[in-house]
Amino acid sequence: MVKRLWLAGLLSLLAVFAVVAASRFWFSRSNARLPFRDHFASQDADGWQAFGGTWSFREHGVINRSDERGAKLVAGNEQWRDYQIHADVQMLGWGDIGLLARVSNTSVGINSYRGYYAGIQSRDGALILGTANDDWIAVEPAAVEGGIHSGVWYHLDIVAVGCTIAAHLQNLQRGTEVWSALHQEPCWENGRVGIRSLDTGAIWKNFAVDAATQSDLQSMLRHVKQVQAPTYPSREQDFARMVESYYGDSATVERSILRRQVLALREDQSNAPPLRSIQSLKIEPEGEEVRMRGVVTLYEPLYILDATGGLSIQPRKAVSLNVGDQVEVTGFVQKHDEATFHADQVRVLWDRTPMQPISITSTQAASGAFEGSLVEVRGNLSSRSVSEDGNYILDLQDSSQDFRVIVPQGLNTRLPGEWKIGSLLKVRGVCTNPQENQLKGSSFLIHSRSAVDIELLSGPPWNSGPRLYFLIVIGLLMVVTAIVVYLKAERWRVQVVSQERERLAVEMHDTLAQSFAGVSFHLQSMRKSMQGQANIPEKLMEKLDAACSMTAETHNEASDRIVSLHPAHGTEDLLAQLRRSTVSMLNGSHLPIRTSTVGTNRKFSIAVRHELMAIAREGIANVLRHSNASEIRFSLRYEEKIATLTIRDNGDGFDVDKQTGFGIQGMRQRAESIGARLEISSSHHEGTAVSIQTPYGRRVSIFDWPRSLRSRLFPGRSKQVL
């Protein structure tokens, strides 16, 4: 037994370890395998995970339309070790964009990841390569001939083999190339792949990952002047010298740093139309040429926002913008009921000015006061669907309003699993109050920039939908389990009681009954030896006879009790046992005993049978003592729910109403204890009939536990029939 338990324990432990290890392995890997390709031809973005950014798919490329600092998109398998990444990249602004290798621990933030990054940087006009660990340490930027420009396609490669990472950049327009490499030990040995942008929007195309070997690495290292270790001088002096050495002199450093700052100041604006706020557009005369400035809050449709409000813009010429760009819009005031401003010119003044949404209530949003503004609203998801053009349509509601959220396609081609009906969501986006026919019963629309703008605050309430059914099933299972356990426990208790009764029977047989037998034997011997003697007083003989008789009766009584206690007794026919008991009580006298049975023999519970036998014995004793009967009959009628035992004699009978003895009172009490009904009918010279209508008593069943509970809570109020 102990050995088995040890073995079971050991196996359980191994099973737990196996499950934990398998889970870790399973969750640490994705299904991604090398080679990995994504030409972004389909809208399937299952393998990609976004950390910030405003991502969408267009023209076989993935686009981030956000000036966010450090937007990332990550894919692949964390177990990937030596591999090479290839992609075509194009910057849509001013900043740096590139590829991530061996990435892990990724989160939203500038350098919030571990791994390597190679990218192109506007400011330095260079290929940069370095390592991040919530921080950034790079090797010397490799200057690109002609610089890095917005709108130009570049091809970027990274090869990661061992602890050496090499990068290659080619300007696809001019054909110029540049290489860079770093070596560092220890290193990030494995991780996922990804794309990243900082301060600018960008497009990535033809993203591919292949396994890499030393020969792949060497073919790239052949072009690298020096494989460097990423360094970051801790002394300011050294850092300044390092930067100066990159650029040549401090004047170039200055120009490089301030180049971006003066971006907005290049054009002469002496003849520009008057600068107006967005709100003032409502009161400007029609046909007036105006100029407005605002920050791009949404790219498709294009919305800008200034301190007075937001506006939908329709540029007459295509313009490349990012969310967060500050733009100057010039055009003529159209009819005041026109919701969209048709702009003749849209000019980027500045980038990196991302707006923070204003948190408002749904009623404020519905009022129209926040038309075109970037807002944040909370609501419970009431329905969700995907429109024909692939956008998510989320219908939300709170206690005041119903509203609709449109989440653009892109990385969002599948509804995220956590957006369940009834969930509380926080949505960010541009608030619009369009015409009624577009609202579909909602109070207002929210155009969110991407799925990242939808934040799950809490899941559906516990009592909603399938969750409620699940809880009900779990509850039922628990109740059934409790009942099964109860039944097992009760049966075990009954078994223990039975065993105890058997033990008592054996004890009584071995001690009490045998002692009485011994006493009886000795008394009989004394009586026999004294019978022949003449000088024995008659009174002494009478007392000896009485002692012999009492001993015999008590022995018989004890034997009966032993029989009724013994488990084997339960299997004997009740009438046969009554007959045997009567014969024993007759002690050699003759009295005809007749028995009859109606119905199919059924078992009584131990308790019922015990009490029945006791009642019957009392009845038989009364017959033998008082009735002068010449016959006794036992009949037993089995019915569906009850059985009726009748003891009938043909003796003198008696007046039932006048009987107040303890015998009958005891019989009634015993009958009540098993839920039986005792009836005694008798009249002078016509005999007596004692009838007991009793339930059979039950085995422990599932219906016993409430009764059992009730009897424990309110003892004395309930009867328990077993």
Binding site: M1, V2, L5, W6, G9, S12, L13, V16, G52, E68, R69, G70, V108, G109, I110, N111, S112, R114, T131, N133, D134, D135, W136, I137, Q184, P186, C187, W188, Y232, P233, S234, R235, E236, Q237, F239, A240, V243, E244, S250, A251, V253, E254, I257, L258, Q261, V262, A264, L265, R293, V295, A307, Q326, L349, W350, R352, T353, P354, M355, Q356
Partner: protein
Amino acid sequence: MWHLPARCTACAIFIGLFALLSCTSRDTLHRIAVIPRLSADAQWLSLHVGVEEEAERRQLQPYWRGPSGSQTVQEQVELVREALDSRADGILVMPGSYLGENRVMNQALAKGIPVVVLSEKIALPANPHLYYVLEDSHVTGELIAERLRATVGKGDILLLGLEPDVPGSLDRSNAVESSLRAVAPNIHVMAKLLRAPRGGSQDDTVRKMIVENPRLKAIVALDAGEGMTAAAAVSAAGAKGHVRVIVCDQSIDLLLLLHSGVVDSIVVQQNRRMGAKAIDDIADDRAGRHPVQEVTFDPVLVTAENIDSEPVQRMLLMHRSPPW
């Protein structure tokens, strides 16, 4: 049924599993969350040095998480909450607003987690686990006023980048004005510009002011971001050398511009010492000692003349996390 050895077996398995799970759940070193107002800049790289040095000495493990922008108070709140959720043993924070982070910081304090607020005081009720490591705004004002007196003598200046909601911004502005009145009465504050809420146009505004006001001799930028605006405007207006740029707080670009001469001087906080003191406070609090709850450090004016000196270079030491 259940014999003693079997029970022992079950207990041993349970204890073993519990120990196994416990071992993997936490590091042995106490973790300190360091949450700046904006990550990855020279100011914080110097703070890094002090924090790392002292943390190593006191057997603590700092980890750094900063918001992506200086105006994203919500991100900072979430970072403090993350620190709470991950059961950080101490929090070092430079709050982005007077009130925004109060609730979450109060929650940390209520749990007995020591919180050190850097640079400026905020509206938090006194708490035995709350410590302040502050800059001395008066000294900042005196340093700027003295520099202006020595280099400009008389004329107008522009105060750039006031942010009433950001701790310390108005203190700096007031300190500069009061010190000017005392030290250089011939220098007048021509205008005070609020920090541009969305950047960009501020450059143009300042450039125009430089062009239109020949008496404008200097621009005092109250933070590093506005320092870049001032430098860009001066450069765009062709006023380098004519209009001096004095900036509060350093960034890598500003230090480079100091070398090139666009920026005249930078009031640098002693971030290395401040970081070390903050870690000391956390370590002492955890050890049951009660350090002084408020300590102030004097800033230092860094100019082209003294930037290469050893004391300044030691103060400007920068540190980036090694990859592991």
